[in-house]
Amino acid sequence: MTDLEPIAGVRNLHPAYCSLLIKFDAMLLRHEQLEEILRGYIDRMEKAALPEPRLVEIPVCYGGEFGPDLEEVAELHRITSAQAIELHASTHYLVYFLGFAPGFAYLGELPEALVTPRLTMPRRGVPAGSVGIAGSQTGVYPISTPGGWRLLGRTPVAMFRPERAEMSLLSIGDRVRFVPISRERFAKAKLENA
């Protein structure tokens, strides 16, 4: 709704799981004024038409150097690596919101048998395309950043493409499925994307 009927003075929006942070120009609006305007939106929220959710398939090469935490995660849950992959790739996830870094989508929820805490010591550098899990969430690192999620694999697909009109591969509300691919497919796809 805020896209279709923008509010003058609102500068930025940060949707998350169950909140929306609104940044506004305090020279143009006061808190009370904005609250009043937002109440009008909240009253109509239930009636708002949402776009049809898309299903986006993301190919992932699991394990090995691409998924350095796969074996440990499997061991923690007393399953095999193959079963862990099967679990991760058999679920349809919802994009709750994008945050943290450009194009980083928070996906959930993981199957119960894969729910794992973050690493105690975050890695200084997680390569772009890394597919990780943290708690009951999963996600793909669009760019190389420090990060504490446990890494299961890597996708050759670019998650954030600043040169395109639709910069982020994923948008809020999308459904996502991960599709296991071989190292050969990964290498080929990487070449094609380059």
Partner: protein
């Protein structure tokens, strides 16, 4: 077209304007000048619109060779600038002749110095802004800090500023806008998660800025604070200047290249009028927090904005 050659880049020099707002839903934080007040004043002194792109230097400045004549202004911290070895003034417009070299040294106080050039630094705009976003390697000059040998383009100057006239920042304004070490904050969204004792520690204590501070955030050392939740909560949007208390109990102040969402409780938020002061903090600086009401925070912002657009700001 006017060109500037980077002879020495300095420690961390990036192209910055006032940042890109509106891309939070994609996870993109605004970036922009760490000391936006210094950039805005610098642009006015140089004869630009206040949001033109300039260079932000950090702790140690660079050396720049001007192939053509230019008008510049240096604001923010005093990095002891010289023009062909002659000392030049900060917070003032400076005329540069073709073939001269502007050189900066290390900071004398504060963390960042801005070089504003009449016409602005001309880089390809990304999401409506020239600002470099270092973490994602986007925007600015090739998405990165400047290197030796880079050649910067100067944009076309807006009309009416063809001739040089010396301009200075009014002394009274300089005093009013000088960076603060006592940061005024409003209560954060989770401030009630903290006990009375925690509040006392936070507001009476002195915190030191650590080496692991950058444009994403300032990590502080000092009294550790316990929160009722034990440190983590469900992720939500986080604002510029948010003071997060991490699991270790130590505060992190989120800054211009911040992550857009976070999962630590926020005890306080630096007020908008004081966020530019954050840009002048450097490792080992000691700071304190002072709690103010939202109405005071707003009044202080209005006062600062009125000063920044006033005619009395610039002399000459």
């Amino acid at each position: 077209m006017s060109l500037i050659e980077v002879r020495a880049p300095g420690l961390l020099t990036t192209v910055q304007d006032l940042g890109r707002e509106g891309f939070g839903p994609m996870g993109v934080s605004p970036s922009g000048a760490a000391d936006a007040v210094a950039l805005r004043v610098g642009n006015r002194l140089a004869g630009n619109a206040e949001g033109a792109a300039g260079l932000e230097m950090t702790l140690l400045g660079g050396s720049f060779f001007f192939r053509e004549a230019a008008v510049v202004a240096l604001t923010g911290s005093d990095f002891a600038p010289t023009l062909d070895d002659e000392r030049v003034e900060t917070w003032s417009s400076v005329e540069i002749r073709a073939g001269q070299t502007l050189q900066m040294g290390p900071t004398r106080a504060g963390a960042r110095c801005y070089l504003c050039v009449r016409g602005g630094i001309d880089v390809k705009s990304f999401l409506g802004s020239a600002s470099t976003h270092l973490l994602s390697g986007l925007g600015g000059f090739e998405g990165r800090a400047l290197r030796k040998g880079d050649v910067l383009k100067v944009g076309r100057a807006i009309e009416g500023f063809r001739t040089f006239r010396k301009r200075n920042l009014a002394r009274r304004a300089l005093e009013k806008l000088s960076p603060r070490k006592v940061l005024r904050v409003t209560a954060g969204p989770q401030s009630d998660w903290f006990s009375k004792e925690a509040w006392k520690l936070f507001y009476r204590g002195t915190y030191r800025v650590t080496e692991e501070s950058n444009r994403m955030g300032l990590r502080l050392e000092g009294a550790a604070i316990a929160s009722a939740s034990g440190g983590e909560m469900i992720s939500e949007g986080v604002s510029l200047g948010a003071v997060q208390i991490t699991a270790s109990g130590l505060p992190i102040i989120l800054f211009v290249e911040q992550q857009t969402t976070g999962g630590y409780p926020k005890i306080a938020n630096v007020i908008s009028a004081d966020t530019s002061s954050l840009g002048q903090l450097r490792p080992r600086d000691e700071i304190r927090f002072e709690l103010v009401e939202m109405e005071i925070a707003r009044a202080l912002l209005v006062e600062q904005e009125e000063l920044l657009v006033s005619k009395e700001l610039i002399l000459g």
